[in-house]
């Protein structure tokens, strides 16, 4: 199958139709003077992102946590032992503002998933540490997320996945 995946893709593309095809068709009727190629890529990325958010939400609620909770817990989990980060580092990782992060850490503390500790090296600072319960929650949720995402990729041959990841990397790299 992998040797023929490109032909397979071409065949599928011809047969398959998605919401964005309708969108492009409508714009083409109204603004035939414009090159709509960018819409073919970016509108699909936006819509996939929205669907993905919903899939994430579903996967996480089965594990009793919400998406924003996962974002924070996952950043701490990725940091490795002892699973500690400053609020400032957390808000840079998760791209939210400081007020939002204060609120999030408050609620995660109430739920017993993280705890706040004074930073021994900087008396202005605080460290947020994952609790044992928090680590278990994020590990379970991450496994559920990977399973849900793997389902979404099920129809895509390995070779196409790698190609897709590579093309997306080319788009994303300039931002990093």
């Amino acid at each position: 199958m992998s040797r023929f995946s490109t032909a397979f893709v071409v065949w599928q593309n011809a047969a398959m139709r998605d919401e964005v095809d309708d969108l492009v068709e409508a714009w083409g009727r109204e603004r035939g003077d414009l090159d709509l190629d960018p819409v073919e890529v970016f509108s699909r990325i936006s819509r996939l992102s929205r669907h993905l958010d919903l899939a994430r939400r579903d996967a996480f609620t089965a594990h009793g946590i919400e998406s924003w909770e996962f974002d924070v817990l996952a950043a701490l989990r990725r940091a490795g032992e002892p699973y500690e980060l400053s609020p400032g580092r957390l808000l840079r990782e998760t791209l939210v503002t400081s007020g939002t992060m204060t609120n999030r850490v408050d609620r995660l503390t109430d739920r017993g998933l993280v705890q706040r500790l004074p930073d021994p090296h900087d008396r202005r600072g605080v460290l947020v540490r994952l609790t044992v319960e928090g680590k278990a929650a994020v590990d379970g949720a991450f496994e559920a997320l990977l399973a849900a995402e793997a389902d979404l990729l099920a129809d895509l041959p390995d070779e196409d996945r790698a190609r897709l990841a590579g093309l997306l990397r080319q788009l994303l790299a300039p931002f990093s």
Copy 2:
């Protein structure tokens, strides 16, 4: 060039590195037991979507409108003459709730970009119609958006764009 574009991609992938490579590396250190392939695709889609939102915001503010305004105006514009849709149709197009749409139409009416009309065929209903000013605003903003998005695609050869769009369609089609 087109004949060698696949090899070109492979070479670029080897040379280029993005934020998600770091993310996957960190997860791999902590959870080497998991298959992180889905992250390579979906995390890039999420992050690109976020960057794209910012690029959209920039392109639109240059034209004096906001992203949520564009979403509503563009749905009306795509509908074609006479640029009218019901609030219910608008909220299905833009995936927001009815309360949100009421609020948005209120503000767009205040700005003179749309007007509310009674639906002649259904006395329960209302039609939202693009004004002349609204049509000019959305056309200008759309052109700016396409230009900004074309910039983001500038480094990607035509063949790769088409391949990327096709792969994304395969992921998106099951949702549609």
